[in-house]
């Protein structure tokens, strides 16, 4: 079954349906793969990855697609989302003081509950609104956080309440990088 693997700068290329390995206690199927009758197969086209956990000695076989895969967020991922009040928790106290439509937020994906829709949480210091535009300000002018609950527009100096993500600007780079992978 090695027929489609081409060594190109030591990257192993996989395509859907390619049998990658036997599946057992030590070798398990990771993202981009699935298990069927004792074998692990690829379900994306991309590059093969084998990662061994130092402690448990379990190898995770996964396939990394070079395209942003059409996958939905998984539990535990941190996602950037364009704010839409409806999709988040409606019962939140005064949601208007935390987020407004058009804001970009960082949130953690909660486990799927009975309602079956994707629940996001910003109940961590580092999660919350990343960028937002104040009401009446021109497009493209973003507010700057002034405290954990307020942001200010540099142009119009309007202050608006927000649940601000605790990110020091230097780290924004790294953070968004994470998202690029996980989104």
């Amino acid at each position: 079954m090695e027929r489609e693997k081409i060594n190109r700068t030591d990257k192993k290329i996989c395509i859907p349906g390619l049998r990658l390995s036997k599946a057992n206690k030590d070798v398990i199927s990771g993202p981009g793969t699935y298990e069927l009758q004792g074998y692990i197969y690829a379900n994306l086209s991309g590059i093969l990855k084998r990662e061994e956990d130092q402690k448990t000695k379990i190898t995770v076989v996964s396939v990394e697609s070079l395209r942003t895969p059409s996958l939905l967020p998984k539990t535990g991922d941190i996602v950037t989302a364009k704010e839409d009040i409806k999709s988040t928790d409606k019962d939140r106290i005064e949601p208007y003081k935390c987020f407004r439509p058009g804001d970009i937020i960082l949130a953690r994906v909660l486990p799927m509950t009975d309602a079956h829709w994707c629940l996001l949480s910003t109940a961590e210091n580092e999660l919350g609104v990343v960028t937002a535009t104040a009401e009446g300000s021109p497009d493209g002018v973003n507010m700057v956080p002034v405290s954990w609950s307020e942001m200010q527009c540099p142009k119009t100096l309007v202050k608006e309440p927000r649940k601000v993500a605790r990110i020091i600007p230097e780290r924004l780079n790294k953070k968004t990088d994470d998202n690029a992978e996980k989104k």
């Binding site: 081409i6 395509i15 859907p16 349906g17 981009g32 197969y41 939905l72 700057v144």
Partner: protein, 308 residues
């Protein structure tokens, strides 16, 4: 037919000029004899069991998440796949994602008539067959409550449209990084006068659907879609009239033909990955350049922050 106000319609009673040409109404025997010469060679020089060489590529449509183009000589098929979207008008939870397929013929795709722009019965049937064939190939558990749109456009119809559509859709889905259990390939066969025509042209399909001169002669069309590694039949449609042995013989041939297409599909997918590797390397370089520009902004931001 209700009038379509969204488009321009020609005069209602227009007819194709071809009706008045000499060769319009040929008898079954005439058409049948034309298909094949005494050496059992078909009109385009192929042997009966010879499929057309398939040309295919991915990344055909820039605006789509994944796309492909498949060409079997004159048959030309374009397919595009978009990001999953929420299933419209549905409230209940569906644990498996849905695939929405739409097969459409271009108005100028068929030699015999101009295709209407509103979907007709044949297009709906093809869409359904395509959907059924793709369902076992796609890991639908990966996108619960969502729907993936697969659009197939047939630019030119010269037979084996369903097979072409399935091959194109398989490529486009893989190209769009939609998780799939296996690569899917498909092939058609036409049965005329008990003879099996692999990968038929439009003319051959037309004759295969005609009433044969003698009663009880096998005729019709079979299309099979296969998952190659798992060795499963993902889609099967038969039409016409054939006895059991004929169906089973044809199925066996199609199974092999589907397998023959697999290397072509694999090659394209591997090329696609290589292309993506190159692209991501290039993008990485560009991104580094941009980062410099971005960092300037950061400085600005930091200044503002500290000023506050």
């Amino acid at each position: 037919m209700p009038i379509d106000y969204r488009r321009f319609n020609g005069p209602e009673d227009s007819v194709s000029y071809k009706q008045y040409t000499k060769n319009f109404l040929k008898s079954y025997e005439e058409l049948c004899n034309e298909l094949i010469d005494e050496n059992e060679h078909r009109k385009d020089g192929r042997a009966l069991d010879e499929a057309r060489t398939m040309y295919a590529r991915t990344n055909m449509i820039s605006q789509a998440k994944g796309s492909s183009y498949v060409e079997l000589k004159k048959t030309k098929v374009v397919c595009s796949v978009f990001d999953p979207r929420e299933i419209p008008n549905k409230n209940e939870f569906s644990p498996l994602g849905q695939i929405y397929c739409e097969v459409k013929f271009a108005p100028f795709s068929c030699p015999r008539k101009r295709r209407a722009l509103v979907p007709d019965a044949e297009e709906k049937d093809l869409s359904l067959s395509l959907k059924k064939a793709l369902e076992p190939a796609v890991c639908r558990y990966a996108f619960p409550n969502y729907q993936i749109d697969v659009f197939v456009y047939i630019l030119e119809h010269d037979g084996a449209c369903l097979a072409g559509a399935i091959n194109a859709a398989g490529l486009a889905l893989a190209n769009a990084a939609v998780p799939m259990y296996d690569t899917i390939t498909a092939c058609s066969i036409a049965v005329i006068e008990d003879k099996l025509y692999v990968d038929p042209t439009e003319e051959e399909e037309y004759v295969a659907n005609m009433t044969p001169a003698k009663e009880g002669i096998n005729h019709g069309i079979i299309t099979v879609a296969m998952l190659s590694t798992l060795e499963q039949v993902a889609g099967f449609t038969q039409l016409g009239s054939m006895d059991g042995t004929c169906v089973i013989n044809a199925t066996e041939i199609l199974q092999k033909e589907c397998q023959n297409i697999v290397p072509i599909i694999h090659q394209i997918l591997v090329k696609d990955v290589i292309h993506n590797i190159d692209l991501s390397e290039k993008l990485e370089k560009e991104a580094k350049l941009r980062e410099a520009a971005l960092n300037e902004n950061m400085e600005e931001w930091k200044k503002l922050l500290s000023a506050d």
